[in-house]
Structures are given as structure tokens and as C-alpha cells.
Amino acid sequence: MIEKFDAIVVGAGPSGNAAAYTLAKGGLSVLQIERGEYPGSKNVQGAILYADMLERIIPEFRDEAPLERHIIEQRLWMLDEHSHMGTHFRSDVFNEAKPNRYTIVRAQFDRWFSRKVKEAGATVVCETTVTGLLRDPAGRVYGLTTDREGGEVHADVVILADGVNSLIAERAGLRPKVRPEHVALAVKEMHFLPREVIDQRFGLKENEGVVIEMAGTITAGMAGTGFLYTNGESISVGVGCLVSDFKENGTSPYVLLDRMKRHPSIAPLIADSEVKEYAAHLIPEGGYDAIPAIHGDGWMIVGDSGQFVNAMHREGSNLAMTTGRVAAETVLELRSTGKHMTAHNLSVYRKKLEASFVMKDLKKYRRLPSTLHDNKQFFTDYPRLLARAAETWFRVDGVEKKQKEREMVGSFFKSRGLRGLISDAFKVARAWR
Amino acid sequence: MSNEAPRSAAKKQLPEHFKAYTGVWVYIELERGQVHSVSWELLGEGRKLADQLKVPLAAVVLGPPDGSARAAVADSFCYGADRAYLMESALLADYRNEPYTRAMTDLVNTHKPEVLLLGATTLGRDLAGSVATTLKTGLTADCTELAIDAERSLAATRPTFGGSLLCTIMTLNVRPQMATIRPRVMAMPQRVDAPVGEVVEVPFDMAEDTIITKVIDFIADSSRDKVQLAYADIVVAGGLGLGNADNLRHVRELARVLGGEWGCSRPLVQKGWAPADRQIGQTGKTIRPKLYIAAGISGAIQHRVGVEGADLILAINTDKAAPILDFAHYALIADAAVALPALTTAFARRLGPAVRLAG
């Protein structure tokens, strides 16, 4: 007998969990299907969790969720081969009662979140891959198939929360293939160190944590960034660049990460650690313009699968949770008014997102991806120029300061020219606006 | 052992009735007329423990009345035993858990040893578990090191968590202190011709019709086409670095020329390139060959624990940084698909006409 549910959620990442939790709490019969051995098993990475979006779903999460450290310090580094310069913001204000950002280890966090989903009443099935959507002649989605024997299940609505590579949506013709210039490939490692060593290296106590975001020559001229987060007993380090750039450039992400780890500013931070997890993952970075259709007759798309990532601010999981929650709330509202899950009725989902920070933020940066992609000087010339300028400025060598100023300005002009400098500034400003 | 909670609080307070337990016993594993070499290794190790405790070392021989048990007793003295306990009975012809457990527990209850050592073989582990449970005493499995502490207790050290850690385990307040010991870890003692010493013959009083389990056949390994990995002196194995299933043939050919066995890492079994009985490692076979050649295997801890006992490990890998270089003795930085056939040809040539290449 083929079972039927009110809703099926595909995937148990932050977006799928948010959706399944909200739906189950709302009293619907929910089936969630995850291909990993358990939720989070495919997400072996440390990450940053933005509290606010989770708080809206599970207000008491701070008491239960496996959180690593709350972030009290943010560094933004510009790196060339030898140096780093940048800002460094650390504040005791972040030691607040309800901190705003935490580092988490996804494998654990996802598992916890999934437990909440089960407690809320959803049926969660793991080690099962969704292989396709079932559509009636009119195109309405009424269920799906999985790779298990007797794998067909039906539902009024299917929510695709299956991550950046959403093959299901692509196969069902609901969205086009993701373009290489719209996804970044990030590689990441977990460097395990005793808690005390991490505290000492970063000047931390209790559960305080640090985030370092990096740009510059570490990406070998490609559009991308690097990062380092402190977890409880490990440090996550990683670097990501657009897939299209990797293709053009011929460099492998592993080579980049390796080089980054040997950078004199980073090596001492991770020295003597034991590397255990190595993960490569795609991040959708196409921004607003890359968002596909996110709803239709009997289906919705949430999270990375819908390209909901703010690359500039490294926000992904929060958009995932928000889109998951909003999609679920839309379904609940339709149900309570006795409406069907038609494309027309589900369009409320998109409207709600347009009215929220999700679409507004993504719109704000809609030009950034292409600007950075087309202007590689941001990842080559500028870091080097800045580093050389700082080096000139700080070196005490009997050269008069005026002369130093002239040299610094000169080097910028020589490299980019006046027009280049002005247009770069203009480009960034426009993309940022 | 599921919990490594510190039990340092546990102090030695040996109950009075256990104080009479004395002497070190080694179980001599006799099967089908053959003594497993681990038994001699244990006599060598047991000698050291007994000397330290200043107690006698005894061999325990259980077997059929066909002379093989007596021969084993004689050999025991050559390997250092002071005394031997012998139980001869037709019921003990083949190893079976019921009569052997009964024989061993009777012997222990009557003659009260303080230490009882067995080889960590299939037989030793099957028997030790039943005996220890019957005697309600502690048993430390698969040890790699034995010592006597200041309070005259046996300190048995063994790998745990798949080899990531070692732990030292004691049985403080119960006797005997039991341990099974991995074959090929302890040194083989020198055999010295010695006259038969004190033999304590103990009658075995079970009746065959009370023993439920019957051996209806024994298929010796030599007579069947079964993988002999665990016992092979030379093993050649391949991993994912071979690139494809077809390249496994190079592994098989080299093994054949060397008169050894071939094996593989787990992913090859998972991919269906090789049958499960060829897998080497934690969830596969543990091997202790003289020479192990690992081609295109990275050397993950689960693989490592299965091969560490090899006398000599040669890694063939394209990656100088592969973890296998941390425990291999020699490494050839080369493409396995090239190096393996080259080695096969070169070995065949050196070994002369007796070895012919396939095809």
C-alpha cells in the first residue's frame, strides 16, 4: 500500500528541518526523507549559526542545541603571500545573555535539530534517497519515488530542501541546471586541538569564539574567500571560490587550502592539530538573479536548493531556516483555510519572502557576484598593494614619511591607474548599495 | 570495557579464599595433533611472569588419548614449563566448547592458579569467554603486553578503540586472572631439550551423550579453496589507488609469483571489485605476514590495525604524504599499475624457472 502524507520534506539540513518542524508542530502528517545515514552525516563541517532565525522556530534552543562557542570577535583579513592586514572587532557586549552568533558543528547540530523534528511528530526516514517526483498529467506533483524497494510515497505537497545540487528539481524540470558561475566550491577541514590550546591561541575564555574571514591572494586570483572559525575543540578552516573560476584557472581547491594553511598568519593558529574531517561542498552564490522558480503545483523549494545564500555576509543556514519556516507556514495557512496546494495559492510563499530580509538582502547584493567575477584585481593587486603600503608605512628605516606616502600612492596608480582605481571604487559601491 | 571510566578507586582486597590461588598457567592449544605456536610463545612469556612471582609455570594440555597430548606435554617442558596438567579423553578429540569449558573449569577449581593465559585464537577466545563467565572472573582479551605490578597482580595491556589507544587492565579481587594474548606478539622461546617433568594427570568424567554439540566434519584449510590470508607469510594487497577492478589482477599475479595471498582494502569490497573474504583490516582479516605489500592503499587506521603485525611492510603509493608511510617500513613512490607488474616480472626472473608468469 502506498502511504500518503500531508507533506513530504526532502532533505534534513537546516531548511528541511525548519520546514518539517514547523509543519509537524502545526499538526500535519509529515514525512521527511534524508539520504545520509543520519541527519548531518553528509554535513561534516563547522559553521556559524545565526541565533535569531532559529529562535523564531525553537525559542529555547540555547538550552538544548549543541553549540560550540558564541562569537565575541570578528576579524576581517586581507592577505598577500606574507602578511595580513585588516580589522579586528572584539567586544564584551557579545558576551550577552542571548548571544547572536555561535559556531556549530553541523553533524551534531543537524542531529539535534532532527531530534526536535521527530519530537514534533514528523516521520523521519534516513538512508533513503529521493530519486524523482511523481507528477500527474497536468504537471501537479503528488508524491515521489525513492531508492528503496516499494519506494513510492504520496503527499499533498512536496518541499524540496535537498541542498545546492537539487537534482530532483532539475530532473523533474522544475528548474534549470545550476550554472558554474553561480556556485562556489568550498573545501574545509576540521583541525582538532584541545580546548585549552584554542583558548590560549585566541585569547578566549569559557565559550567565547572567534571568526576570521579572509580575502586576498589566497584564492590565487579567483573570486572567493577563506575562513577560520573556532569550535569547542576544533578549528574549521576552509576556502571557497566560484566553480567557473576553478575551471578557468585549473587550480584545485585542495591546493588552495593547503597553501592557505601554510600562510604565516594562519599556520601558527592551527599548528600541531589533528586534521580529521575533510569536506568539499558547493555554496550557491548566484544571488538574487539566480533564484529559480520556487513554487508550483504541489511543490516548493527552500534553502540552498533555491539559491538562498547571501555570499557577501556568509549567511546560508539562516536563510535556509527562514525559507523553510515560511514555506511551512504558507502550507499551514492554506490548510487552515481549506485551500489546495496549487501554484497560485503557494505563491504566497514567494510574496512573504519578498517582504522579508531574505529577498531584500539578496536584492541589495544582486550585482556583487558578477562584479567580483569580472574584476579579479580585488583578489590579486589590491591585497598585495595594501600589504606593501602597510609594510612601507610601518618600517622605520630613515626614509621620511612624506616620501613613503608618495611611494604608496604611486604604487597604487602604477598598478591600477587613476581610472582603474576610480572605477573599482565605483563598482564596489554599486554592487554593495 | 564500553566505558573507560577511571576505576583507580578500585583497590586490591583479595578475599581470603582466593589467597590459595598460585602459579601461572598456560593453556596449550592442541588441535588435530598440532600445537598452535601461540602456546609456546605464551610459555616463554609465562616463564617471565612466573619467575617474577617466584611461582611455578604450568602447561595445561587437554586432548585425546592418542599420544598427541602427551607429546604436547613433553614439548611444554622443552619450552619452559615446570609442570603440566593433563586431561586425556576421547571426548576431547576435537575442540568443542562444552567439554573443554568443563575440563578447564574443573582444573582451575581443583588446582587454583592465579594466572591463566590462552592464545587469542578462535579456540582460545571461544573457551576463555565461557571459562571466565563460569568462574565469574575477569578476562582481558587480545593482549599485547603482560606484566606483574608491585602488588603481584597481572597487568594486561591491550589495544582498544580499534588501536587508537592502549589500556592496561587488572583483575584485582577475583582469581584466576585471565587473559588471551594475540599470536605472534610475544617472542618464541628457545626450545631446550628437557626431560618430562612433573605431570599431573586428571581424569575427565563427562559422558559423550551429555554433550549436545557434535563435530560432524572438519574441512582442513589445505583441502579447500579458501582464502588463507590470515595465515599467509606473504600478502599483497591493493586499494583504491589501483584505479579500477581490472588492475587487481596485478596484485593477484604478484601474490602468485611470491607464493603468497592477495587482499584488499574495504572500499574494493564495497565496490564489488573483490569478495569480502579478501578484505584486510579492522572489519576484515587481521594478517601477520612476514612481508606485506600494500599498493594504492592510504593506510587508514582501520586498515592499519589489521596489518601492523607484519614483519615488513612495503607501501606502493603515489603520495609521499599518505598515512601508510607512517607505519610502512619502506615505500616505493610510484604508480601501482606500473610498479606491480614490474615487480612481478623481476621477482619471477630472480626466482628462476620454477616460477612461470601467467598467460
Binding site: 528503496r148 | 592449544e29 589507544l165 587492565i169 612495503l314 610498479a339
Partner: protein, 282 residues
Amino acid sequence: MHIVVCIKQVPDSAQIRVHPVTNTIMRQGVPTIINPYDLFSLEAALAIRDEHGGTVTVLSMGPPMAADSLRRALSIGADRAVLLTDRFFAGSDTLATSYALATAITKIASDQPVDMVFCGKQTIDGDTAQVGPGIARRLGFHQLTYVESVETIDRARRTVIVRRRAEGGVQVLRSELPCMVTMLEGSAVVRRGSMADALRAARADVTTWSAKDAGIEDISQCGLRGSPTVVRKVFAPQPRKEKAVLIEASAHDPVHMAEATIDTLFAALPGLNAELHAAAAR
């Protein structure tokens, strides 16, 4: 047939780390799995159930989290799951573990008699291979360890024939039910449950028993108190100081590479040369 399969949830040893200072296991972030050996036993039990009918009950002793492993066993096809969880069990060695499990099996058998108990050959964390024999002894079941295959079960006569791995060969044993069997690794390919199994497992209740629920009256036989063995110290193995010696040979000249390698091996293992020749002559 009523078959009980004992499964243990263990940390995935692939991901285990040792704290460099305290030498304790760092469990943080280490996923847990069903002890891989137990899956071969589970598969053997399911195959017997499929052939002879009956019920497969999976049993585990461990923290509440171990319910996840039991649920996974249900999704593979087991019918029923029981979790033994109690603070009294903490620190159990194999003697105490077999006591608790055997008592629970007796309790399970009071509803429906148990014909067979399956255990894994050994665990990947404890690695002792003692719990199965311990259970057998306590229950008075016939003990069949290192079984390659269960050949036949005659339910009328209550006999069972198995092939058991022994040193130097395979014993074909005839025994009787009830018996305790541990399966050898690689004895079968573990099946994947159907979608219906997966759904059933996701919804199933895992019966959770405390020591008392399981009918354990003598707490002194459980946990630390019931464990005759004492862990004195836990430490990291000495890493081998030297890395592998690289064999100097031209990567472009396979012949030279092979010759250099063979020379190295012969020099390192005196006697290898002679042994190979002797073997080749045979």
C-alpha cells in the same frame, strides 16, 4: 523462531581522536554506528526468520542515544527493539554486560521463548569477543562462535548445523536450539529494508527497560561493581618514530624500480630470498 540479536552502538572508530594531553577519547563530533560485526549477525538472523518465520528482536544495552541504532536495525528489517538503559550499567565490563543482557533475554523469553541469540563476533571499541560466550554460558545456550554459515535448522528436531571457523579449518557442527551464535565478518551482504520497513522503523517505539524493568534484581552484578576487571590506565601507543624509508628509484624506469625494491626487501628481511626460492621449488 524467536531470535534475539544483540547489537552495540559504538563510536565510529574512523573518527576517533585521542586527547594529546589527557589521553582520553575525544568523543565530540564522533558519530556512532552499529558495531559493524553485529550487522552480519543481524543479517543471518533475518535470513533465518525469512525462511522459517518468526520474530527478530534486537537488544542493546547503552545510553538512551543507542535507540538510534536499534531503530536503524528495525529499518533493516528487525521486528522489535529493546533498549536496556540505566545508570547502574555504567562502567560494565564484559562479565557485567553479559549478566545484564542475559537477564534481559530471559525477560524477553518470558513473553515468547527464545530459540537463538545472535551476537557480533566482537565489537570495534571493546574488541573482546567475550560478551556472546558470556551470554551463552549464563543462559545455558549452546555456544557456536565464529560461524561462517548456518547451514540447516530442523525446527521439529530442534537441531542446527553450522560451519564454524577453527584454526586450520572449518568445523561442521551439529548442535541444538536454543543456541548462541556469533557470525564471522563477510558471511553475508547486509540487506536494505524496504520503504515500508523504513517507515515502520521511523514510527516504532523502542521498548526501554531500566535494570529493574529487565528483571535485574542483583544490582551488584551490574556496572562497575559487577565488573572484576579494572582499567588501570589508558594511553596512546608510541608512534613509530621513523617514517617509511623511500626506495630510491627512477619513476620512469620500472625495471630499475623493481630491482631496487627487491634488493631493499632482501636486505631488510634476511631469509626472504631463500624462503621464496624454497617456496618456488615446491
